[in-house]
C-alpha cells in the first residue's frame, strides 16, 4: 500500500451564510468555492514528493484533507492504508504535519510544548527523542524558553519538532522555509534529508522551486484546484523543457496546453 493515496478528491467550501440578512433579502443561494477538482495521486513509501502550485491552487486544502483538518466533499484519502475519516486515529498516528502558519501556545516553554504534543499522541516518557530533535534542530539552548520569547525562525523549528515527536512514517511540510533565513533552511534540510533516507516519506509544498528541484524525486503541480502535472522531476523537465524547474513551472502555469500532463 502507498504511503499516501488520494482518490478523486474534490473539495467545495460552502458559501458563507449571511444569517438573517439572507432571509430578509431573499437573495439567491450562492455557490460555494471549489478548491479541488477530482485530484488523484499516490506517494510511495520513502519518496520525497513535491506538491507545487501558485497561491490558492489547493495545496493546503489537499494537505488539510490528509491531516483531517478538512473533509473532502467527494473522494477518499488514505495515509499508510488508513482512511483519514473512518480510521482517523491510525491515519493520524502515521502522519506528522508542519503547518504553514507559525502558531504556538503562549502558555508553555519549548520543552513543555513538545511534551504536550507527545502526550496528545499518547506517548509518555518521550524525553530521549525530544532531546534528540531539539539537538538536531539547534533548539537545545531554548528548551526552557517560553514560546513567546522565540524568534520567528525558532518558532518554525519548534513546529517542525512538534510534527516529529511521534516519529511519523509520513511527514508533510507545508511551506516550512517560507520567510526563514538560510541558516534555518540548511539546518532543516540537514535534519529532514536523513529522515527521508531512513525511509520516512516526505511530502513538501514550497514556493522555492530550487529546493523542490534539489530534494524531490517526484513532483505534482496544482493549478486552480486541478492537478496539471505529475511526474519525476527529471521527467517533468524533459517533457516541458526549460532550463530548470522554475522555468518549467512558469510554462505549465501559463500554458493551457500542459493541462492534465500526468505521467
Amino acid at each position: 500500500m502507498p504511503a499516501v493515496s488520494l482518490e478523486h478528491i474534490s473539495k467545495i467550501y460552502p458559501a458563507r451564510s449571511r444569517g438573517w440578512k439572507e432571509w430578509i433579502s431573499r437573495a439567491p443561494v450562492r455557490k460555494g468555492f471549489q478548491a479541488l477538482h477530482d485530484v488523484s495521486l499516490t506517494v510511495e513509501h520513502g519518496e520525497f514528493f513535491g506538491l507545487l502550485g501558485p497561491n490558492g491552487a489547493g495545496k493546503t486544502t489537499l494537505i488539510s484533507i490528509l491531516a483531517g483538518l478538512a473533509r473532502a466533499t467527494t473522494g477518499q484519502a488514505h495515509v499508510c492504508g488508513y482512511d483519514v475519516t473512518t480510521d482517523f486515529k491510525r491515519a493520524r498516528r502515521a502522519l506528522g504535519v508542519v503547518p504553514q502558519e507559525i502558531v504556538y501556545d503562549p502558555f508553555f516553554t519549548v520543552r513543555e510544548t513538545l511534551r504536550l504534543q507527545s502526550g496528545y499522541f499518547g506517548l509518555r516518557n518521550n524525553d530521549d527523542w525530544i532531546d534528540e530533535i531539539l539537538s538536531n534542530l539547534a533548539l537545545s539552548d531554548k528548551a526552557d524558553s517560553n514560546m513567546r520569547a522565540l524568534s520567528g525562525g525558532m518558532k518554525r523549528r519548534v513546529l517542525v519538532a512538534q510534527a516529529l515527536v511521534h516519529r511519523p512514517p509520513v511527514i508533510i511540510l507545508d511551506e516550512p522555509t517560507a520567510g526563514v533565513d538560510v541558516d534555518l533552511r540548511r539546518t532543516l534540510w540537514e535534519f529532514i534529508s536523513p529522515l527521508n533516507k531512513e525511509g520516512h516519506t516526505i511530502l513538501l509544498t514550497t514556493h522555492y522551486l530550487e529546493e523542490a528541484e534539489a530534494l524531490c524525486g517526484r513532483i505534482a503541480m496544482l493549478k486552480q484546484g486541478h492537478m496539471v502535472a505529475l511526474d519525476t522531476t527529471a521527467g517533468l523537465l524533459a517533457h516541458v523543457g526549460g532550463t530548470d524547474l522554475e522555468d518549467a513551472f512558469v510554462r505549465i502555469m501559463h500554458n493551457d496546453d500542459f493541462v492534465e500532463f500526468v505521467a
Binding site: A67, G68, L95, Y104, F108, Y120, G122, L123, P169, H200
Partner: protein, 263 residues
Amino acid sequence: MSAPIIQPRTDMGSGFPTLLHKELARFWKVGFQTIAAPVVTALLYLLIFAHVLEGRVQVYGTVPYTSFLIPGLMMMSMLQNSFANPSSSLIQSRITGNLVFILLPPISHREIFSAYVLASIARGLCVGATIWLVALFFVPLWPANLLWILVFSVLSCGIMATLGIIAGLWSEKFDQLAAFQNFLIVPATFLSGVFYSIHSLPPFWQAVSRWNPIFYTIDGFRYGFFAASDVSPWLSVAVVLGVFLALCFCAMRLLANGYKLRN
C-alpha cells in the same frame, strides 16, 4: 538497497490525559486571573450585601442573610468560571491557530469533550472551594449534606462547561463570545436567586424564575448547606441532570461533526 518502510509507533495510547493536563495547566498558570480574581469579586459582593442587608432579611425562616448569600455567590462564581474556561481556551486557540495541535493528533471528539469539561469543572470547584474557605472567616457556614453539595457542584459546572464549549465553537470573534457571556450567562446567573429567595418575588417573576435552569443549580446547592430550599432538591437534580445531558448531546454532536473546526 531501498530503505525499509517505516511503521507508526505501536506504543501510542490516548491523548486524553495530556489534553486534560494541558487544560488544567492553562488556568493554573494564570491562577491570579482565573481563581484569585473571581474569589475577590465574590468577597466584595459578600461584604457589600452582607453589610447592607444583614439583620434586615431572613430566609427559610431562620437563616441569616449573609449565610444565605454565601452558597449563592459560590455557585455564581463556579458557574461563570466553568463557562469561561473552555470558551476562552477554544476561542483563543482558534483565533491564534494553535488549536491545530489538538486537531492533528488522534484525539477523538469524546476525548476532547471530556478533557475540556473536566478541566472546567476542576476550575469551578477550585473557585467555589476557595470562596467558601475565605468566607469561613466571616461566617461559620458548614454543609448540612456534603453529597448534595458535590452533586450540584459537579453537574452545574458541567452544564456551564458544556455551554462554554458550544459558545467557544460558535463564536468567531471575542466580541461574539463576550455577547454570549454578558447577555446570556451573566443575566441567567444573577436572576436565578443568588441574592434572594424566589419566594420574595411577585408570583409572575417566581414563575419566570422556574423556567431558568440556573435557578435549580443554586437552589439545590443551597439545600446542601441548609437542608432547606425553594423547591425540592430532587426536582432540582432532575432538571440540572436533564439540562446537562441535553447540552452534552449538543456539544458532542458539534465536536463530532467538526463544527467550525475541521473546515
